[in-house]
Amino acid sequence: MEASPQPQAKSDANEPAKAGIAAFLNPAEMHKLGRLLLLSRNKVEGNLAGAHRSPLRGPSSEFADHKSYGIGDETRHIDWRVFARTDRYFIKRYQDETNLRVYLVLDRSASMNYASGDWPTKFQFASRLAAAVGYVIVKARDSIGLFLHGEKVDVRMDVGNSFQHLNNLLKHVQSHPPGGGSDVAKTLHEIAASIRRGALVVVISDLLGDEEEIVKALAHLRKQRHDVILFQTLDPAELDLSLLKPCELQDMETGEELAVNPRVLAEEYQEVFGKFLEHYKKACAGMNIDYRIVPTNQPLESFARVYLSERRRLSR
């Protein structure tokens, strides 16, 4: 396990309040993230020329296929070598390349405000993760948009590919602290319906909702031919119930109370919670969704670096 990072949330009170990306990433982290690239594993339909594969044919250096010559086709695209062999006219077509549209779907429900010990809250960690992803996207001149939701979509920002846009996006995140209930499934359905054309949807949530419904919503996204990345941010205490003393726990969203002895319940809890996570894992694997559990006690920068490298390798 890597060394525990210093929680970003606990900043010095004397420092002036930061806004935008500077509130989430420091220059060193940005420097390291600047070298990374987030690629889509699917073909995406952007509105600008870019580095990502498009379902369309267009001008590029990467050969796509041959097509029989038809009226209206430019003669300069005829592949004369094929004509020489077959005595027929074929047009040589190339892969069109476009930019990547990425939508961040960030959960701001009350349960995201949980942190055990000195670790950052799940929302803080998710925000930083969103900032990191956004920085990588914008740095690659791709576009990024935002859906910030609790029980409903609270903030929607269309895609943009400037740092100004990213700063504005993150300011919205800053200005909407976690609270209220959550309905992840409903929100994802809404988002799936609202995003046109194939895009990359990055969902960052603790997914503590009805897992069956959430899986259906994820399937909806996939049906819309969106590439989906699912980051499930969880606190270490949620994973193994590593609490010491018997206590009375109150659910952060429903207010339900339960007196427990963590030592006694830990093993059974891990069993139950493990099944819950396993359900997501299997469902995502079946839908070709990139699913990651992100404990809040791990260094963000290293996680992002490892993940994006792996993603890049798999996207080729």
Binding site: Y114, D240, L244, Q250, D251, L258, V264, E271, I293
Partner: protein
């Protein structure tokens, strides 16, 4: 019964502590927000029944631990036996003291007996007023000091101080029988204790003739056995002495052969022979030979008379058996009566006269005139072709043998085998007179009983005895008790012997003249005949010493005594001699000959007296081989006897029995064991395998416990 009953309150309070802690814990529970309560509820639902059972188990375990701790500090007492759980009942005790002479074994500044008396006194001093005691001494026969339970402790202690160990061995079991009877007879409802005080010696516990306990020791009777002797005693003692010959003629050679017994590690020792209070010689015995060697002393030439002699071993821890007393009897002559015709007894008369150096040692007569002689005057009577004899003559001869004489019979042509039938004292009745063919006449004599007193000295220096036999008596069967001393050839008796009464009968298979064989002409005729005569002198005499006894018939030893003599013990005190008339004869019996040493007959002419008896204490007791607790318990028929090896241990055992024994320490150990069980169970049941964090603020390191299993698996899968 508890020594510190106030701690029982602590036990009760302690028992309620787990319950109150449980309540307090519930009341002060920390309330925390948590996002995954629904999963916790599901987990709790799955495990609630198990958790409840585990909690109840732990609660009971903790309550039990607190109760045990409180009870342990309250020092509960448990009685080892008896009926008085709530209090002490009056008790009767019996003390059985081993009074054998081995109790005189020196241990430090005192003896085992001194320690035994101290222990007995301590037992009496530990009695309460209503308690009673009786005291028995274990000797050969149990001896009651207090035959019935009494309560006067001071008298009992005073009597104990006056007791001394005896000069005999002891048997504990009969004394325990007597003690049990006394206790049961007195008051069977009281608590009973039997205190056996002895040394470590195994001998008193051997049920030689005692037959074991007459009744089982009651379960409620506590038995304390004090084995106060040393664990590895050492002792060397002379256990027997053999004078060869038992009676010696003046000027003849005599040897004293002693047998030693040693207990403990082998040590060198030295034996000193004293005769008439003068040290005559000394023998050294190597350590390796202490048990097996039979050192002998050659006696000096002594004057006619009875000489007081003793052999001493060096001083050791048990001094009572260091001296062995005996008497040496020297006679002027060993008179023999030869019965037969002059011609047939020629060889015999010549041989005996030559051997004993004069005419006075033998007398000759004919069979017809034999009854005129007082046979009791002669050490031996030799019948040479004197048979057949009839009626009064046979009766006189057999009476002579029965009273300790030696009859030597040489056959002859005068008697047929039928002539021997009317004799009852002969070793065998010959079946025929057998003439041997020329080819079978040369016979080699072989010694069938080489260690027999008659022939053991004869074997030396005579080479291989061979004689020519022309005729012999043949025997098909021998009488009961008869034995063949010398054979001619294979299995054909040459000389037979049979004990008869106090005397012996020797029967030769050939005649005493040269008619049947050339035996009278052989070089070993003379020594064999002289041995017969010497043997006759010794057979009739009693052993040179007596074992200490309560009762000794004197008439057999001193037939000339008609009135009770004045017998003086070694300490100068007169010995009680009782006279009684039995079948018209006056029988004299000496009593209490228990003191070792020389007993003398005194008369007005000789106030000092002359030694007539040498008395030694029984040497069985010299075997100090230690016993084992298991053997003692086996003899007593119980398994719960309490053994003490010193006074302090005995006091502790008695205290534990009478007051009880605390098992607080056992409870503490049990509580400790349960604590360990509780610790293990609480940890196993608490599933504290992984790390944990206190949410109240303190930072601890987070281990990837079993709780992060899914995450680990997930990561591994991704890497794969």
């Amino acid at each position: 019964m508890f020594l510190a009953p106030l701690f029982l309150i602590a036990a009760v309070v302690g028992a309620t502590m787990p319950f109150f802690l449980h309540l307090m814990q519930n009341r002060k529970r920390l309330r925390l927000p948590f996002p995954t309560v629904r999963f916790l509820r599901k987990a709790e639902k799955n495990t609630s029944r198990r958790i409840r059972l585990e909690n109840i188990f732990l609660w009971l375990l903790r309550t039990l631990i607190m109760v045990l701790l409180g009870s342990a500090f309250a020092m509960p007492m448990i009685r080892s036996g008896g009926v008085g759980w709530l209090g002490e009942a009056p008790r009767d005790i019996a003390i059985v003291l081993d009074a054998s002479y081995s109790m005189g074994y020196q241990v430090g500044k005192g003896t085992v007996w001194d320690k035994s008396i101290d222990s007995a006194v301590a037992i009496l001093e530990g009695l309460r007023d209503p308690d009673r005691f009786c005291i028995f001494l274990a000797r050969d026969q149990p001896e009651a000091v207090f035959a019935e339970p009494v309560s006067n402790k001071q008298e009992g202690i005073a009597r104990l101080r006056t007791l001394q160990p005896g000069q005999t061995s002891s048997r504990v079991v009969p004394a325990v029988n007597a003690a049990m009877k006394a206790l049961l007879k007195a008051d069977p409802l009281r608590e009973h204790e039997i205190h056996i005080i002895t040394d470590n010696q195994a001998l008193p516990w051997r049920n030689l003739n005692s037959g074991g306990l007459e009744a089982q020791i009651e379960a409620k009777t506590a038995v304390f056995v004090s084995l106060l002797g040393v664990s590895a005693p050492e002792n060397t003692a002379i256990v027997s002495l053999d004078l060869q010959p038992p009676v010696v003629r003046k000027g003849a050679e005599m040897r004293a052969v002693v047998k030693l017994r040693h207990t403990g590690r082998p040590v060198d020792t030295a034996l000193s022979l004293f005769i008439d209070d003068r040290e005559i010689s000394r023998r050294h015995v190597n350590a390796a030979d202490t048990d097996s060697a039979e050192p002998s002393f050659t006696m000096p030439l002594l004057e006619v008379g009875v000489h007081a002699a003793r052999i001493q071993t060096p001083d050791d821890n048990l001094q009572a058996d260091n001296v062995f007393y005996f008497l040496v009897k020297v006679q002027e002559q060993m008179p023999s009566l030869i019965v037969g015709s002059e011609s047939e007894t020629l060889f015999l008369r010549t041989a005996l006269r030559t051997g004993f150096g004069g005419e006075n040692s033998i007398e000759a007569t004919t069979p017809e005139r034999m009854t005129e002689k007082p046979l009791s005057r002669y050490a031996s009577v030799v019948l040479c072709n004197a048979l057949p004899l009839f009626g009064q003559a046979i009766s006189a001869v057999e009476s002579y043998v029965k009273s300790g004489g030696v009859l030597v019979v040489f056959p002859g042509m005068g008697a047929k085998p039928e002539a021997y039938v009317s004799w009852t004292c002969l070793p065998g009745v010959p079946s025929r007179v057998e003439d041997l063919p020329l080819s079978q006449r040369n016979r080699v004599l072989t010694w069938d009983q080489p260690q027999h007193a008659l022939v053991r000295n004869l074997r030396e220096g005579i080479g291989i005895p061979s004689i020519s036999i022309r005729r012999r008596l043949a025997f098909d069967t021998l009488q009961e008790g008869a034995q063949r001393l010398v054979s001619m050839g294979a299995n054909q008796p040459f000389l037979l012997e049979r004990p008869f009464g106090a005397g012996r009968v020797l029967l030769f298979a050939v005649s005493g003249d040269s008619a049947w064989s050339d035996f009278p002409l052989s070089p070993f005729f003379l020594p064999l005949l002289l041995q017969c005569a010497e043997y006759g002198g010794g057979v009739g005499s009693k052993t040179p010493f007596e074992w200490a006894t309560d009762y000794l018939p004197l008439s057999d030893r001193f037939p000339d005594l008609k009135t009770p003599p004045t017998l003086k013990a070694p300490d100068g005190q007169p010995v009680s001699v009782r006279a009684s008339v039995l079948e018209g004869r006056t029988v004299l019996n000496a009593e209490n000959l228990l003191l070792p040493g020389f007993y003398a007959l005194t008369s007005p002419e000789s106030p000092e007296g002359k030694p007539v008896l040498a008395v030694n204490i029984l040497r069985e007791e010299s075997d100090l081989t230690p016993t084992a607790e298991a053997e003692v318990q086996k003899q007593l028929g119980i398994e719960n006897a309490a053994f003490a090896y010193d006074l302090e241990t005995l006091r502790t055992l008695i205290e534990e029995h009478r007051l009880g024994r605390t098992f607080g320490e056992h409870l503490l150990w049990l509580a400790l064991l349960l604590m360990a069980v509780e610790f293990v169970c609480a940890n196993i049941l608490g599933r504290s395998k992984g790390g944990g964090r206190d949410l109240s603020g303190s930072q601890e390191s987070i281990g990837i416990g079993s709780g992060a299993r899914f995450l680990r698996n997930e990561s591994a899968g991704a890497e794969g």
